[in-house]
Symmetry: C2
Subunit: 330 residues, 2 copies
């Protein structure tokens, strides 16, 4: 459980007193970490402070629009000497390739994850915030910076981490922040279009293969899709095209356990499963049976098997009907 | 352009003064018309008034949850003698099979569509509301009814008509209403799961066929999916399973015109197209070339052709590249 040793008011004071910051995003950055950093940089520049953003990886295609025409440095930590502040980084390991240089040096951590390490000197975690962007929203208000300065990245951060206000983490606080940001000029339709309606043609090919492979088990309570190396080769799919597949099994009425299975390119006798489940079915226990782990409703593991059919049978063997629901065998 | 002859304050007074209402939804009801009617009925019952809900059609599977355990009468207009009030009904024709009995008799119309007929005695249309539910939200406030009485159906109404707060009609007013309703206890995660993540297995089969048929034209600026009668038969698809397909072409990066084509069961030499486009490309003009019509960004038409291939070629012939964009030929 994270222990705060600084308040949000004190964080505002920290930014008011000091100058020259390095805002650090987590590796493989999403809209929340990027939007939070960008909004904070704009707020600090509005206050005539210097701030740079760094990250172990460049933004993915669907988040590139955030930095349209705005400076995003290549990963080059040697030139940086500002005060290191991390946003939306739950553990030092999530600094990725920045860890060797910046690990142990973070001055201030601002985060919203329930399981978050206190790896910085000053640690602030608010797990009631649906997105780190919600915390930055409050901080910008405390700094007295008008919201039109950073409405777009803050809206993108909040929309990203709430699945466009559809996930269960969305609260009235989330909607009130969104309302303020729209009033301040955030072009919500454009941002949500970029975040949620900008699939690439290769992502569409990945979806096509996934839907074609959809199978149901145990009276439709389990759904599974499989992507083999043959699929990847035949359809020219990259690993990053496959992220889009994970939610589709769970969107089906009656499905309690949705499984996405992908053959490993490196070792074709290994099959990586991502399990998404309704509350009640322990996705983490199912994955633990194969040496994996995760959360009760979202977990993963790697299964050694001669082919996808064998791997699927191995997984299903561990899921049994139990009353109205499903359970995991020992 | 609709002309209001009653204010929202006067509507509140109308409901306070009278008793015994029949709340009428539009045909093929969506979450907005059903949620608005249900919320209004609960508010009126809280005020010790009588109110019934009628509609030409029963709720579709993904909206059934709204009426879980709550009375929704079979279509039986003869037994009803309350004051007729329509919600979210833009024209009398949209009463559907209720029109012969109730046409010309609507006392009060509450609507939010930009093009809305003043077919009632008392007409109120607020086109700045993203959903009729937003108007009912304000009305419930004016009536002094606490929001916990009707938070769920109001939230469902507003989420339905804004695509879960992702469509461009979403405003800060929308988010502020949602915030109030969450504070009043609306279970947003459950409602959004029911509205957006409850696809049936036959809808999944329809999606599978649609993705498999996806083709790109004019450098990926046009995408088309085709569902033939063979597909419908082979996959056991009902017409109502096909609604889920319309958005998928437009979700692809770079696509300006997305076309969904369906062969007619009644006359297999007719192909119905639904066209969705980015602002700038006139979907309505394209469809007008085939005797159809609609809005600039969403239109439809029926094309006579020997087979799907011929129909697709006919449509594409009318779309030509023009500079960076696309245009419709004469």
């Amino acid at each position: 459980m994270p222990q705060n040793n600084i308040t949000l008011d004190e964080i505002a004071e920290f930014f008011r007193e000091k100058d020259n910051f390095v805002l650090i995003c987590h590796k493989r950055p999403d809209g929340d970490t990027l939007g939070s950093a960008l909004a904070l940089r704009r707020a600090l520049e509005y206050m005539d402070k210097k701030a740079e953003i760094i990250c172990a990886n460049t933004p993915s295609p669907n988040n590139e629009f955030l930095f349209d025409g705005e400076y995003f440095p290549a990963f080059d930590p040697e030139d940086m000497n500002g005060i290191p502040v991390s946003v939306d980084v739950a553990s030092e390991e999530l600094l990725g390739d920045l860890q060797p240089e910046w690990g142990g040096k973070i001055m201030l951590k601002i985060d919203h994850h329930e399981t978050s390490d206190d790896f910085a000197k000053l640690n602030y975690t608010d797990p009631t915030a649906a997105a780190c962007g919600e915390i930055i929203f409050d901080l910008v208000g405390l700094l007295g910076v008008p919201y039109d300065v950073c409405a777009e990245p803050l809206y993108a951060a909040i929309s990203s981490d709430t699945g466009g206000f559809r996930y269960s983490n969305t609260t009235s606080r989330t909607h009130r922040a969104a309302a303020e940001l729209l009033d301040a000029g955030a072009e919500n339709a454009f941002i949500d279009h970029m975040l949620y309606e900008s699939r690439t043609q290769s992502e569409i090919r990945a979806l096509t293969a996934a839907y074609a492979s959809m199978r149901y088990y145990l009276d439709g309570r389990v759904a599974m899709v499989v992507i083999t190396n043959d699929d990847k080769k035949r359809l020219n799919l990259r690993e990053e095209d496959l992220g889009i597949i994970s939610p589709i099994t769970r969107e089906i009425s009656g499905v309690i356990v949705g499984i996405t299975m992908k053959q490993s390119r490196v070792d074709p006798t290994k099959f990586k499963i991502s399990v998404r489940s309704e509350p009640g079915f322990p996705a983490n226990e199912l994955c633990a049976a194969f040496g994996g782990g995760g959360h009760p409703c979202a977990a993963g593991a790697e299964i050694p098997a001669a082919n996808a059919k064998v791997a699927a049978a191995l997984v299903l063997k561990h899921i049994t009907a139990s009353g109205d629901g499903l359970a995991v065998t020992d």
